[in-house]
Every structure is written in structure tokens, then in C-alpha cells.
Amino acid sequence: MRKRHKKKESSEVNLGFQIAPMVDVVFVIMLFFMVMAGAVQVENTHNTKLPGTVASPTEVVMPDEIAIRIEDDGQVFLNDEPLDTPASKNLPELARNLSDLQKVSMAGQNEVMVTIYANELARYERVVDVLDALTRAQIKNVTFQAVAPE
């Protein structure tokens, strides 16, 4: 008798569309996407040109050349002068020095050209740190040390 009564109750349950739970679910999904929107990783790029073989019709003014060396441990040298520590990711000293050099060259109407000499075992991450510092110093002429083909 008791069981029968229970069956009747369950059959009377309203299975119609409920707006309140739907709003709850939509709120939760929206909150998820709002939080995710702040943590989204965006791809950035450092654009550069490889040396071409096209002859220039005008005379080429040789820019002031600066060498940046990256050691295996991540130590960065600007014209043989060590700057920042290997643990320093932002390379503030390098960026400041490069910015000053850029200003001096601009005043003399010269262009700065930076050549990056990365040791074979230096991490690519460190090379990108140097590229980031060059971008902050607004230096556009960047070349890389060529590797000898195997």
C-alpha cells in the first residue's frame, strides 16, 4: 500500500521546463568563461628578416653594430660587458643600456644594429628575453649569428 502511494507521488512530479535552474546554469557557465577570459594566453611574435641577396640601388649606410652574447647559463653580455644576472628575466640593465645606445644613435642619425651570439646550449627562452629587451628599447635591426651547417 505504501509502495503504491510512492509511485503515485513520483508520477505527479512536474518535469516541465524550469527557468530558475537554467538561469543558474547559464550564470555558472558565464562565470567560467569570464574567469577564463582573464587567463587566456595570446600568441605574440617577434618579426625579423633574414639576409637577402637582392642588390640595393642606393648606398648602404653601415649602422653602429652592437654584439649581445648569451652564455649557456643565461648570462648576457653587451659588447663583452656582463649585464643582469642569469636569473633576471626582464633584463632591465640590458634594456636601459640598449635604450641609451638607441637614443645616442638616433641623435647622430645612425641606426643601431644588434647581432645576437647565442651559445649552442643557451636556452631559446633566453634568446626571446633578449628580443623582448630589444623591443622595449625600440631597436629593429637585429641579426643572429649564423650556425655552420652540419
Partner: protein, 151 residues
């Protein structure tokens, strides 16, 4: 206010569920679109180096780029080169493939996506092969921030 909806006969404003759902759905679609559009369509085994000052990658440029993914296996200390998900056991084999791509579409740019732990020699090798294939325009890929969210 008789036919405006949202108010009672006495003039008191009334809460309307339908417009609220409309607004909620619009917001939901907005946040969904900005999160999914920005997610990097790239090799999941590559952790990009972080470079917040680099230029934001233009999604419109994707058609004018050929992506070169360089994975790094620290245990085997071995780099793996992939061009558009096609793996090259011998990196030198990439050259004819890349040359074919640039011959079909001149002004193509090579986008190098290297793992952050990759030795610089492997990136230099990738640049060398890209140069041999006849590309002059190259780009190095980086992320705007770490996965943890720290810049």
C-alpha cells in the same frame, strides 16, 4: 507604461525574466567567443617562451604563414621539427617542403614556434633551413604570459 511590459498597473517596475535571459545569453556568447578565439592553435607539447613586449600575433596573418614547430625532449635531449603537423625525422627534409610552399605562395612568412627549453642551436638550425628554402620573412613565436598567468 501600459504596454511597455515590466510594470504593474500601479506603475511599480516588475522583474522580467525573458530580457534577463537575453542579456545573459549575449554575455555568455561574448565571453565564449573571446576565450575560444584566443586559444592558441598550436602544438600542445610546446611551451612557448614569454615575451610580453612582442607584437600580438595577427590572426589574419595565419593564411600567409607556415608554422614550424620545434619540440624539445629533455630526456632524450632531442629536438623534433614539425611543419604544419607533419613531422620530419631529418630536419633537412623540411627544405624541399618549405620551398614548395613558398613557390606556391610567395611572400609567405615562416613562423617558428620553439619550446622555451630548446637550445639556441636548434633555433639557429631552423633559421638556417628556412633561409635555405628561400624565406626572408620570419617570426619567432612567444606567449604574452605564463600558463599560471604571471607576466
Amino acid at each position: 507604461m501600459a504596454s511597455g511590459g515590466g510594470s504593474t498597473e500601479s506603475g511599480e517596475p516588475e522583474f522580467q525574466i525573458a530580457p534577463m535571459i537575453d542579456v545573459l545569453l549575449v554575455l555568455l556568447i561574448f565571453f565564449m567567443s573571446i576565450t575560444t578565439a584566443e586559444i592558441l592553435k598550436m602544438d600542445a607539447s610546446i611551451t612557448l617562451p614569454v615575451s610580453p613586449s612582442a607584437k600580438k600575433h595577427d590572426p589574419k596573418m595565419t593564411k600567409m604563414e607556415v608554422a614550424i614547430n620545434v619540440r624539445w625532449d629533455p630526456k632524450a635531449t632531442k629536438a623534433t621539427f614539425l611543419v604544419e603537423e607533419k613531422e620530419f625525422k631529418n630536419p633537412a627534409d623540411m627544405v624541399p617542403y618549405l620551398r614548395g610552399r613558398i613557390e606556391a605562395k610567395p611572400n609567405l612568412r615562416a613562423l617558428i614556434r620553439g619550446d622555451r627549453m630548446l637550445p639556441a642551436a636548434e633555433i639557429q638550425r631552423a633559421m638556417d633551413l628556412v633561409g635555405q628554402a628561400g624565406y626572408s620573412d620570419i617570426a619567432f613565436s612567444a606567449s604574452n604570459k605564463d600558463k599560471e598567468g604571471t607576466k
